[in-house]
C-alpha cells in the first residue's frame, strides 16, 4: 500500500487553447467548470464548440459542485514515463451534473479505490509556462 499523491515530477502539462482556457482558468481559481447547452441543458466535457446532443452552438461555462462518484479506475505500476511515481490511480469520475472527467485519485491508500465511491475535486498547482493547476479527486469521508 502507498499513499496516493499528486504527481510532482516533470510530467506533461496541458497547453490551454482558446476553447479550453476558461476550464483551466477555473482550475486556477479553485473551481471545476464544464459547459452546459442553453438549448437542451446537456452538460459537455471535454471543452467543445457545439452541444453533443442537439448541435447547438450556445454553450455556457458553469461551475460544477466538484462532486461525483468513481465510474471506473485502474492502478498503474508501469509508468507511462519515468517521471510518474507509481502506483498512481487513473479514475473516470461521473460528476453529479451528468458528465465524465478523467483524473487521478489522491489522498488515500492505493487499494482504497472502488467503483461507486463518492469523490470530490481537489486542486494541485503544477506550474509550468501556463501556470497550470490540475484537478485531482479525493474520497469524500
Amino acid at each position: 500500500m502507498s499513499l496516493l499523491l499528486p504527481q510532482s515530477g516533470d510530467i506533461p502539462l496541458p497547453q490551454p487553447g482558446p476553447i479550453s482556457e476558461p476550464y483551466w482558468q477555473g482550475c486556477r481559481e479553485g473551481v471545476l467548470r464544464f459547459q452546459r447547452c442553453l438549448d437542451c441543458s446537456a452538460p459537455t466535457h471535454t471543452p467543445a464548440l457545439m452541444c453533443a446532443v442537439c448541435a447547438s452552438r450556445s454553450l455556457v461555462w458553469v461551475d460544477s459542485s466538484g462532486k461525483g462518484e468513481i465510474y471506473s479506475w485502474t492502478r498503474v505500476w508501469r509508468p507511462v514515463t519515468p517521471d510518474f511515481v507509481t502506483p498512481y490511480v487513473p479514475v473516470i469520475v461521473a460528476m453529479e451534473e451528468g458528465w465524465f472527467i478523467l483524473s487521478n485519485l489522491v489522498g488515500c491508500e492505493d487499494d482504497a479505490v472502488a467503483i461507486g465511491l463518492g469523490v470530490e475535486v481537489v486542486f494541485h498547482s503544477s506550474g509550468g509556462a501556463d501556470d497550470i493547476v490540475l484537478p485531482y479527486f479525493q474520497l469524500v469521508s
Partner: protein, 391 residues
Amino acid sequence: MRTLGHPFRDVAIVGVYNTKQARVLEGHDSQSIALEAALGAIADAGLEPRDIDGVVGGIASNFLYQSRIGPAWRSMSPLGIPAVIEGAMAIACGLANNVLIATGEAGSYRQHASTAPWTRPTNEFVAAYGMFTAAEFALMARRHMHMYGTTPESMAHVAATIRNNGHVNPDAVYFGRGPFTAADVLESRMVADPFHLLDCAMTSEGGTALVLTRADRTEDTAKTPVYLLGGGTDHYGPSYQHPPVWDLGGVRRPDLIAGHVGRRAAEEAFAVAGLGPSDVDVCEFYDPFSFELIRQFEAFGFCAEGEGGDYVMSGVIEPGGRHPITTDGGTMSFSHGGASVQLFQRVIRGVQQLRGECSSAQVLTAEVAMCTGGGSGALFTDVLLLGKERP
C-alpha cells in the same frame, strides 16, 4: 438496402507477406522494412512491381518513387482494415487494377524506460494523468468487470491461448517462449490493474504488405484468391484524447455505446456477406489486451452482453474449437510492429488461414475468417470478413 451486386465481387486479395518480425531489426528503418514487405507481397501474388497501379499505406509515396510506377492511384489512408477497404473500393470503382498496401516500422522505439510513443497521448485532458494504452483499455475492462463480474481468470485464459498460438509459430517473435497457463499470466507483474504484463501486447519491429487485384485477373496470379465478403469501421473520435467511458453514446443509435464499438461494423459486414457469427471459422481478432477478445465476442454477437467471460472459457477459442482466436499469436506473441503494422496483420493471417498455408494452428477447412482491428480503449473497432468463395 443494397440491390446491386456485392460491393467487393470484383476484388480479390492475391498477395500477402510478413517480413521477419523481431524485438529489434538491426540494419532496418521503417522505409526499408516496409519496402521489403512490399516486394514480398508482390512476389507472393506472382506479379512484378510494374503491375502495381495503386498504393496505400506508410510506404506508398516512397514506393511510388523507387519503383517508378507513377503516375498511380494513391490513398492517404494509413491504418489497418480501413486501408484494405479503401484499396478494395479503388478497384471496385475502377480507379486501379492492382493495389499494394504496405507498411513497416523499425528503429522508432528502442529506449524502453517510457512506454512506446504510439501508446502515449498528447491531449491536455489525459496526458498529465499518466495515461497510455494499457490504462485506457483497463478503464473499459474494469467497468465490464463491475457490471458483469468478468474475472481476471477469463482474461488470463484469453492471453494464454493467444500466447500459446505464438509459442508454436516459428515466425512469432516469442516463438518457443511458452507454453503458458492462465496462472502464468496472473502471476506476471501488474502493469495497469486488471492487466498483468502477459495480458498486454508487446512491442517489436516488422513490415507487412498485401496486394489486391481485380477478381477477373486472378488467373494470372500465383495463389488461391481470397475475397472480401464484407467490412465496416466503427469510430467514435480520436484515440486517447477523451475519457474512455464505456457508456459513451451516439445520438443516432443510443444502444451503440463505446463499450460495444464494432457492433455496427460487424452487423453491416455480416449483412453484406449474408452470414452470421456462427459461420465464422477463424476469429483473427485484434488483441491489444486480453479483455478486448471478451468484449469483441459480445459486440459482434457471438454471445450475449456480459457473457463474454464465460464464452471464452467454454472451449471455443482454442485451436480445434469452433471459433479459434488470433492464430499466429497476435500482438501478444507474433508481433506488434508499431502504430500500424500489426493493424494489418490480422488480415494477413486471415488470408493465410483461408489459403491453408499456416505452419501452425491451421484451421482445417476454414471457409470464413473474421479479422478485426482497434479496441474500446481507442474508441474504434474495424471489421473485415474474408472468404474463399467469390461473393
